[in-house]
């Protein structure tokens, strides 16, 4: 087996058109965003790319799931250690004092008009090798300690100082590391990040360094996903004393954690020259999170229906052989992770199986991202007596699995525009999804006269009863199931074609790359890559 390619340098004098900074996705992890990246790379062979993969701890990644194509001219990968290595020399006392003051000003200016300027002051100091700063200059020096105390008193007075300290240190160390990694991002004529967070921040920093334009796309809403994750962290105790927006009911320590992620989001939004999301409903949310409204546009995901033609045929043949008494096969495709709220689906299946014995759930997707959670889901299935009714199939090829499903269900807490729904539609499968992201729009249509035929059902988050009812409406009524599946197929063919959508991205890439004064031309023909 050929070993994974971990580094690729652009030829001398050549600067890729587009720089991707990818966080925990392509080429190591399969899934929504990774699929999109792979799709974009393959759909635009005439554009050259530089890719910087930033992952979590190295041991979480077991081989690359995607091959690096020839139009990727530069590739580098880094894995977060949790804390960057300290420099060999110590920062001077004067530098440490200046840095502490800069961090204090940043913390003090959070949510204020000066926060971005304060952020870049800190960022410039962190990334300046000559200053020799390290994380401990903030946490293990008297100057830094005063900032920590000050921040505690400002955000978390009365809370556990231990929890606060470690939360603050963890976030600071991670952001610090991400900022340092931005220095390793290959030069590019423009940068595109498909999320805010560490990758967005690193892209913004790289674009600032290279004098390049920055394009930010949000498939999901990174900050919202982090809020869900932080809320689930057990070692940060909830006080239940606050009631502010996203952070309702959570402890001040968690709130600071979230505030820092929100800051990162705002840094990304304000650094971006153009911002895109998958559906218009996200405009308002992005604006509320700090994005300038005039830079936002919506570009949906798309797929190539031809890829699913065989699966469509197989499904049709299978369905033709079945009768109204066939119990039905429910499908799930996705990572088995907390954000997907798989337990709600399992509980829904318990209800379905009582009313329609023999019904099965075919659960396709890797469980290695959150192995404990995967085991929790399996245990729940056993406890509910669904050991035989639910198959945890693990990671499989979607094209080879979809035809087995009568209906596809997503019970996610957060989604963007899930590829899997479009793929299911391409195979004629109706879908049930929670009312998150653009799921309502793609399942029920956008409300216009041309696009108002339902291709499934929308349920509320965490409502197993509603999900079960929707499943029963589809697997118990073959005509309804076929009609909705056909609606989905029509929709994906008419509105979500990959070729048209990728054309929009290509135009944006060219427009932004051509504005780079340092690199007006890439200097390479796509054929030279790889």
């Amino acid at each position: 087996m050929k070993p994974a390619e971990t580094f690729r340098a652009a030829p001398p004098g050549v600067v890729p058109d587009v720089g991707y900074v990818l966080e925990g996705t392509f080429p190591y992890v399969k899934g929504g965003v990774s699929s999109w990246i792979d799709q974009a790379l393959n759909a635009m062979p005439q554009i050259t790319f530089g890719v910087h993969f930033i992952g979590g701890p190295r041991e979480l990644y077991h081989g690359q799931a995607y091959k690096l194509g020839p139009n990727i001219l530069a590739y580098t990968e880094d894995f977060l250690r949790g804390e960057p290595l300290p420099p060999r020399r110590r920062a001077t006392a004067a530098t440490r004092r200046r840095f502490a003051a800069a961090v204090d000003e940043l913390i003090g200016s959070l949510n204020g008009p000066d926060e971005l300027r304060a952020f870049w002051v800190v960022s410039d100091m962190v990334t300046d090798d000559a200053l020799n700063l390290c994380v401990d200059d903030l946490f293990a020096t008297p100057e830094g300690w005063e900032v920590v105390r000050h921040t505690y008193n400002r955000f978390a007075a009365g809370e556990s100082f231990l929890d606060f300290h470690y939360a603050f240190r963890n976030v600071a160390a991670s952001l610090w590391e991400a900022l340092l990694l931005s220095k390793k991002t290959p030069p590019a004529r423009m940068y595109h990040s498909v999320c805010t967070g560490y990758a967005g921040m690193a892209s913004a920093a790289a674009a600032r360094r290279e004098g390049a334009k920055f394009f930010l796309t949000e498939h999901g809403l990174y900050v919202m996903e982090r809020v869900v994750e932080i809320s689930a962290v057990k070692w940060l105790r909830d006080a239940g004393t606050l009631n502010i927006d996203l952070t309702a009911g959570i402890s001040p320590v968690k709130k600071l954690f979230i505030d820092l992620f929100l800051l990162v989001g705002r840094v990304c939004y304000h650094s971006a020259d153009r911002i895109s999301n998958l559906f218009p409903a996200n405009d308002a949310i992005q604006v509320s999170l700090g994005a300038p409204a005039d830079r936002i546009e919506s570009i949906a995901n798309g797929i190539d229906p031809a890829v699913f033609a065989k699966a469509l045929q197989l499904r049709r043949e299978r369905r033709a052989k079945e009768t109204a008494e066939t119990p039905g096969m429910v499908g799930f495709v996705g990572r088995v992770s907390r954000i997907k709220d798989v337990p709600t689906l399992i509980r829904a299946m318990a209800i379905v199986c009582k009313k329609r014995p023999g019904a099965k759930l075919h659960l396709v997707g890797p469980g290695d991202e959150e192995p404990d959670y995967y085991e929790e889901c399996k245990r729940l299935a056993r406890e509910l007596g669904l050991g035989d009714a639910i198959e945890f199939a693990g990671a499989r090829k979607v094209t080879e699995e979809l035809w087995k499903m009568d209906v596809l269900v997503l019970t996610s807490l957060s989604e963007g525009l899930p590829f899997v729904i479009l793929e299911a539609f391409a195979v004629g499968i109706p879908c049930i999804s929670t009312d998150v992201g653009s799921c309502r729009m793609i399942i029920e249509g956008n409300g216009s006269a041309e696009d108002d035929r339902p291709a499934g059902y929308i349920t509320r988050v965490g409502m197993a009863n509603e999900t079960a009812d929707a499943i029963l409406k589809l697997i118990g009524d073959r005509d309804n199931c076929e009609r909705m599946g056909a609606n989905g197929l029509d929709r994906v063919v008419s509105l979500y074609r990959q070729s048209e959508i990728m054309g929009r991205y290509e135009r944006i890439y060219r427009e932004l790359a051509d504005q780079n004064p340092r690199h007006p031309h890439s200097g390479a023909k796509p054929a030279e890559g790889g």
């Binding site: 293990a140 008193n153 007075a157 100082f161 231990l162």
Partner: protein
């Protein structure tokens, strides 16, 4: 001395004069017992031998040299060794005690060998240096197992046999070298007694554990600090023994300085009550305050509560040092006011009066310095403690060299100034360590 704290706190719980006296006595025994016993044993031998001591100077010089050599050579290693034992016990690995001790005993001859540069190779004094080192390792092991009284009893018995050995050697018409051999027998008995108290630990033995030796270079602050402290405490004595104009060379070829040695030896005894008193304070009030601070940090208290506990640590440190300062000042004042009477009783000549006074001042500063060092160690400010020790060594060497030229009247002045200056530096570091204590506790986690 992990574990002693609890015993002492239990003793003084009643908060009566008697309970504090009992606690103080116990602290005296535990903290300075072996050291005092060694000095009392030498003094006892001197008294038994009678005369002005010059006849047996070679014996006393040999014992002093081997004491000094063993402390300088073994102190850095003992500190690293003790920390290794404490870590092993914390990790619930009791076998670490026996296995590390075996390794320590195997390297003891190698460590002691440099002493042969000043003591004749193969001499009883060299063997005495070796057995002193072995006893220090064994004592550290028993201390780690919290058998402090056992250590003390072993030392008492060992030194008693040493005294007896010297007397028997003399009564048999032996030379000073034979007296050293007689003394050595007692130290071997001490070693046997210490080892016999470790049957449980040695029963877990599976081999020798040399891993702790890596601590010598992995934790240079600890080893260098230990070396600096031991060498700093002894270097001026070597300077007088080798270079003082009034030094005397014994029949065994090693020098000593009677005008300096005896007053300094006696003045050093004045350190005993102060150190014991401080030790009691350290292991009760200060340890309590530290425990409260640690608990608050560990169990998620709010910063205001942490600050409160931190302030308590700060005030406890100030109280401990103030009380120690007063107590030691009283002893010093007593030694100075009644110098003549005391000197007459101890057989010290009028010529040594000036040295006696200087030595009392030096010991006053030294006691405070050693206690501040203990606080620095307690707060894990090892690097700062090492700097202070190295400062003592450098200043003591340098200033003693300067004052050696000034004549007998200035004997000990260099040591006194070095102790005072090192004390000032250690107080500076202590203030900083106390201020930064919560930060350091978080950083070291």
């Amino acid at each position: 001395m992990a574990g002693i704290s609890l015993q002492l706190r239990r003793m003084v719980r009643g908060n009566t004069a008697f309970s504090w006296l009992k606690g103080g006595g116990y602290a005296l025994i535990i903290s300075t017992g072996p050291w005092v016993l060694s000095m009392v044993a030498v003094a006892l031998v001197a008294a038994l031998l009678g005369g002005d001591g010059s006849e047996h100077a070679a014996f006393f010089a040999s014992v002093s040299y081997s004491q000094a050599a063993s402390q300088i050579l073994f102190m850095p290693v003992i500190l690293v060794f003790s920390r290794h034992l404490a870590d092993g016990i914390y990790l619930k690995k009791p076998e670490v005690i026996g296995e590390s001790l075996i390794a320590a005993l195997l390297v003891t001859p190698l460590l002691a060998y440099p002493a042969a540069l000043i003591l004749a190779p193969g001499s009883a004094a060299l063997h005495l240096t070796m057995i002193n080192g072995a006893n220090a390792f064994a004592g550290a092991c028993l201390g780690a197992s919290q058998r402090f009284l056992r250590v003390l009893l072993a030392y008492a018995a060992g030194y008693a046999v040493s005294c007896l050995g010297v007397i028997l050697a003399l009564s048999a018409g032996g030379s000073n070298a034979d007296c050293v051999s007689g003394f050595l027998v007692g130290q071997c008995v001490l070693f046997a007694l210490l080892i016999s108290g470790m049957r449980a630990e040695l029963s877990l033995l599976r081999g020798a554990d040399f891993s702790w030796l890596a601590g010598l270079w992995r934790n240079p602050a600890l080893s260098l600090g230990g070396l600096g402290l031991a060498a700093g405490l002894w270097c001026e004595k070597f300077a007088y023994w080798f270079f003082a104009p009034d030094r005397v060379v014994t029949e065994l070829g090693i020098g000593y300085c009677p005008s300096y040695d005896l007053p300094m030896f006696l003045a050093m005894l004045s350190a005993t009550p102060g150190i014991a008193f401080f030790y009691l304070q350290l292991e009760t009030g200060f340890a309590d305050a530290m425990e409260r601070l640690t608990d608050r940090l560990s169990f998620g208290a709010a910063l205001a509560e942490v600050d409160e506990a931190h302030a308590e640590v700060r005030s406890t440190v100030v109280r401990c040092l103030t009380m120690l300062c007063r107590a030691q000042a009283g002893i010093t004042l007593f030694g100075l006011l009644f110098a003549e009477g005391l000197m007459e009783g101890a057989g010290v000549g009028a010529v040594q009066m000036g040295v006696w006074r200087v030595a009392f001042f030096a010991v006053f500063f030294l006691v405070l310095f050693v206690c501040v060092q203990a606080l620095l160690f307690y707060m894990n400010a090892i690097r700062e403690a090492a700097w202070c020790s190295l400062c003592l060594l450098a200043l003591n060497l340098g200033l003693t060299a300067v004052f050696l030229r000034a004549g007998t009247a200035y004997h000990g002045v260099g040591f006194m100034i070095a102790s005072a200056a090192s004390l000032l530096l250690s107080l500076f570091f202590l203030g900083r360590a106390v201020t930064r204590l919560p930060m350091r506790m978080f950083t070291s986690r």
